[in-house]
Amino acid sequence: MINPLNGPWNRWLPHLVGWGLGLVFLAAAFPKIADPPGFAQALHGFALLPARILAPLALTLPWLELWTGLALLAGLARRSAALVALALMLSFSGALGWNLHRGHAVDCGCFGSGAAHTTEERFRDMKLGLGRNLILALLALSLLVPRRDGREPAP
């Protein structure tokens, strides 16, 4: 019986995951690069960070997402880009999860600042965002672990 995971599909899967993850990171980066004050405002809403680092973070983080996305798309330094992606997704998930835990509704700001929402809409978006970020983190992790055939992932 043919095992589909041993065929050519297995060879292309890391590339597909990298491209998909790269596109998500680019989609997340562009709106925030276009509006740093909006992203700073969203970060402030999480009530987790000292005020003095909000501006540097709001300016730098979207560009880090952009370069991570480009590296994943191009297949350059893929494992390092996956590691950065994993760290970012776990950080965002932690921030969302902590605010869900303490009942503090925030606008995620993950894909740029949007229209104002009600508290119920914010909580719903936070739960969806948390689930999405955890899935993306797993995808990033898949680019870091050794393959089923024992070969190391491409650097």
Binding site: A55, T60, T119
Partner: protein, 188 residues
């Protein structure tokens, strides 16, 4: 010992990612317009003095009688009726929302002073220098519903000497819902 070519070198790649991000952030912020620029630090002496275009309203003598300066705290919340009374009696209103939201509609006579756009500290200092009376009530509002931008602006104003800061908690959505006077555009 030399690593084989193609070996994973995260200690090279990851700092390169951060370095590129920092460089791009600096360049893009330098060329950003005033509503898109952030100050890397809270108060940047490199910011040029802003042109506030201030035209302070003509306050009624009753303002200080009904809303005296706050002795024990920087700010105090007010409801819609109090805000409406203050607006009709010439109190200074400050809109803490983003410039785009302000332009789409703001309380009539309110001045836009976004807390998230560049040059805020210089604008606040200029406001304090030009204000005829730092003890007169100043009403600050934003988007209501738990928005904290008005409180952030109030803290900055209190630091430069304003003694009578009132936070209109309902914000622009409540004012607009009551069909009270609003203006659109960049001017108060």
């Amino acid at each position: 010992m030399r690593l084989p070519s193609g070996a994973w070198k995260p200690w090279v790649d990851i700092p390169a990612f951060f370095g590129l991000a920092l460089l791009c952030a600096g360049v893009s912020n330098h060329f950003a317009g005033p509503t898109r620029r952030l100050s890397w630090v809270s108060a940047s002496p490199a910011d040029p003095p802003p042109a506030l275009g201030l035209d302070f309203p003509d306050p009624s003598p009753d303002l200080l009688t009904r809303f005296p300066p706050l002795a024990d705290r920087p700010e105090s919340d007010i409801d819609a009726e109090a805000a409406h009374w203050l607006q009709s009696h010439g109190a200074l209103f400050l809109d803490a929302r983003r410039t785009q939201a302000y332009t789409l509609g703001h309380i009539a006579g309110a001045m836009g002073l976004s807390v998230w756009e560049g040059g805020l500290d210089a604008k606040v200092e200029q406001l304090a220098a030009l204000a005829p009376d730092l003890k007169a009530p100043v009403v600050i509002y934003c988007s209501g519903g738990g928005c904290t931008d008005s409180h952030i602006l109030a803290q900055k104003l209190w630091v430069v000497g304003f003694k009578n800061l009132r936070i209109y908690t309902g914000g622009f959505p409540e004012w607009e819902a009551r069909a009270w006077p609003i203006h659109r555009g960049a001017q108060p």
